[in-house]
């Protein structure tokens, strides 16, 4: 490449770089900086080094929110990717009205998180909720179930709401991956008399691996940041058992403690970053390109 070509290329990239720097890089840098300060609206601002971080690790509510967030990722992401994969496999076959089904599967994904929260609020409601109505009319249980009433119930209720909302996302990415697999590979496998399971394990999954990793990566990052559904459904309750990291950070900000809130955000960022690196290594993306 000649020098002028490089310059031209940079010029084309500049708008994007500017947007990234202004809206992402600066935000991250300021947040990191702020996390080293005691930045409370009613106290003099003071540099305190790592004190916010030290305080976080002694903070019971913070540890609880880390535990919750990890557990949430560990349970919800594999569940969503697994169901998404099943849906994608079905949608990859040809059947009548496939286009309509493919489009309609995306509806939950298109609904804003807060609205999803409200929908599930109506489902989980103790006295007039849809879930208890079903239990009663199907004669499964005459006593209503208090879905959000204990930590385990609230946890799985949140996982279910999140899975309903985000499984389509996983399905659609995986479907794109599936349709990129050349069909003559399957024809070849049929000639070799490979059954459905063999085709899945020997052909589909290995070729789908990079896409699977990306799906896991996206879903993990989003699940780490879980906020809206919790904000609507449990507000972190009962008794703080479903407090997620981003919810806890939000509470610090809204109480006027920007330094502490920033420290929480930085930790969340580092967790997402760590996960991303791990997944990228797992996907071995660098190798394929070289």
């Amino acid at each position: 490449m000649s020098k002028s070509e490089v310059r031209e290329g940079l010029a084309f990239l500049m708008p994007l770089i500017l947007v990234l720097v202004i809206f992402i890089l600066l935000g991250v840098l300021f947040t990191v900086m702020d996390s080293f300060f005691r930045d409370v609206t009613y106290l003099p601002k003071k540099f305190i080094g790592l004190e916010n971080y030290a305080a976080l690790f002694g903070d019971r509510a913070f540890r609880q929110s880390i535990e919750f967030t990890f557990l949430f990722v560990l349970v919800s992401v594999p569940l969503e990717v697994f169901i998404g994969l099943v849906i994608a496999l079905v949608l990859n076959e040809s059947f009548p009205l496939r286009g309509a089904v493919r489009a309609s599967i995306l509806i939950p994904w298109a609904i804003p998180n807060a609205v999803t929260g409200r929908i599930f609020e109506l489902i989980y409601n103790y006295s007039y909720g849809g879930a208890n109505y079903l239990l009663r009319t199907l004669h499964i249980s005459s006593d209503p179930v208090h879905w959000l009433g204990d930590p385990a119930g609230a946890f799985f209720s949140l996982v279910l709401a999140d899975a309903w909302k985000t499984t389509p996302f996983a399905a659609i990415i995986l479907l794109a991956g599936l349709s990129a697999i050349p069909s003559d590979l399957y024809a070849q496998a049929r000639v070799d008399r490979a059954g459905f399971m063999q085709r899945l394990v020997k052909v589909t999954l290995p070729l789908l691996k990079p896409v699977l990793v990306v799906t896991f990566l996206f879903r993990t990052i989003q699940a780490l940041q879980i906020f809206d559904i919790i904000y609507v459904l449990t507000k972190g309750g009962p008794g703080g058992s479903t407090m997620s990291l981003s919810m806890y950070g939000y509470l610090s900000f809204s109480a006027g403690d920007f330094g502490y809130g920033s420290a929480i955000s930085v930790i969340l960022f580092l967790m997402a970053f760590g996960f991303s690196l791990g997944y990228l290594r797992l996907g071995a993306f660098g190798k394929e390109i070289s």
Binding site: R38, H146, G239, S241
Partner: protein, 425 residues
């Protein structure tokens, strides 16, 4: 340098909203008034604003905030922390006043006669370092609503004076009512994990309990408080006179609707519920009475003080005009307009004697006394965090996660850790 960075950081997200305001404004001093609320309330504010503009010639622009209290606080905090000149005037929940005044965001209000307002409120909530920094627009205090007809039918002479009395009468009436109304409960109150839970807790604890300020530190782990929290738990689980959804779903509106459809004997709520209970479509119309909150054994009854206050931003570039606006909306006529329009409980005591007001709101005579005795929550700037800690713990007790002893012990530890972090000792 640091100040500069701090400004940039907060201003960035505000650039867009700023552009909008800058481009539409001419050079004359205009007052931006930030307010959020129900559609009816906003309509009331619009009328008040129009009246002021017509009289004074000062243009006012209403900046709409989210209806949710927490989100209103959040948006105001971000603007004020950035030190931007808008909004000039805003409404504050009594629970944030300390945070706002200690942060140095409130301009002292000069030349205002505070005599007509509730003096305890002015002294405890609206005064900071000897200066008046806000004025009460609207008063709130916890009340006990009761079903007159059900108490009469059981030969009970009046509303309960003590929590024990509330319990025994509930246990007496609830079983009979259940035959026709399977969802009937003796007592509904706010138990979800939010600020309302703290308001109710303070009332269960009564005059000997609640937040104890000792040597400048806040404590909650006292025998009276442990007893109160245990009682709250027992109402749901042992006596079963409060619904199991108390600690997951019950906020003001859920409680209000529960009572209003005729499924409860007693209700703890704010005064706003009165007009709705007396609505034509209400099941409890003409069957409801209001009374002070019951008292715990060996203590006085406490009603938690709530309400909205109006103040002027220190960063405003239209302070004299903003002050004029504050004077107008807190004037006798200004507040009377809001009372007649919205049934608001004004921050001025003199309006509770106004003939026209009493005619429309006969329950006002009782309210005045309750507001005069209502107890504020601690006026410390870190109250929001302390409250969150205690909310989580009490809600955990109601959900059966902790015992009341463990919960309040842990709450004290966490409050102490917070204050240590802020070097407040």
């Amino acid at each position: 340098m640091r100040g500069k960075i701090r400004r940039i950081k907060f201003i960035l997200p505000l650039i867009l909203s700023h552009l909008l305001i800058c481009c539409s404004s001419s050079q004359e001093a205009r007052v931006i008034f930030a307010v959020g609320g129900t559609p009816a309330e906003l309509k009331g504010w619009e009328q008040l604003v129009n009246g002021f503009q017509w009289r004074s010639g000062i243009p006012i622009e209403i900046l709409l905030l989210p209806a949710d209290t927490d989100q209103q606080r959040q948006s105001l905090i971000i603007s004020l922390e950035a030190g931007v000149k808008n909004p000039d005037v805003f409404l504050m929940d009594v629970g944030w006043l300390a945070l706002f005044s200690h942060s140095g965001w409130l301009e002292p209000l000069k030349g205002i006669d505070t005599a007509p307002f509730f003096s305890k409120v002015i002294e405890l909530s609206d005064t900071y370092q000897g200066n008046l920094v806000a004025l009460p627009m609207y008063m709130d205090g916890g009340l006990l609503y009761y079903r007159k007809d059900l108490l009469n039918a059981s030969g009970i002479s009046g509303p309960p004076k003590t929590w024990e009395n509330l319990l025994s009468t509930s246990l007496l009436i609830q079983p009979g009512m259940r035959r026709e109304r399977p969802d009937f409960y003796g007592f509904v109150w706010q138990g979800a994990e939010y600020e309302g839970l703290i308001c109710d807790f303070l009332e269960f604890a009564g005059s000997n309990g609640g937040f104890i300020l000792k040597d400048g530190l806040i404590r909650v782990n006292t025998p009276e408080n442990r007893h109160a929290v245990q009682f709250m738990h027992d109402l749901i689980w042992k006596y079963k006179i409060s619904p199991p959804t108390t600690y997951t779903e019950m906020k003001e509106e859920q409680v209000r609707r529960y009572f209003q459809r005729g499924d409860a004997l007693y209700e703890r709520n704010w005064p706003y519920a009165w007009n709705l209970h007396e609505d034509e479509e209400s099941e409890v119309r003409n069957r409801t009475g209001i009374a002070p909150i019951p008292a715990p054994r060996g203590a006085e009854s406490v009603s938690t003080l709530g309400g909205w206050h109006i103040g002027v931003s220190r960063f405003s570039d239209a302070k004299p005009e903003a002050l004029e606006f504050v004077k107008y909306v807190t004037s006798y006529m200004g507040q009377k307009k809001m009372v007649l329009l919205l049934g608001w409980n004004p921050g001025r005591q003199d309006l509770y004697l106004d003939r026209e007001v009493i005619e429309k709101m006969p329950h006002f005579s009782k309210l005045k006394e309750i507001f005069q005795n209502a107890g504020p929550r601690p006026m410390v700037p870190y109250y929001a965090q302390v409250s969150k800690i205690v909310q989580t713990k009490i809600n955990g007790v109601l959900a059966g996660r902790y015992s009341s002893d463990q919960a309040l012990k842990e709450a004290d530890e966490e409050i102490a850790a917070l204050l240590k972090r802020y070097r407040i000792e």
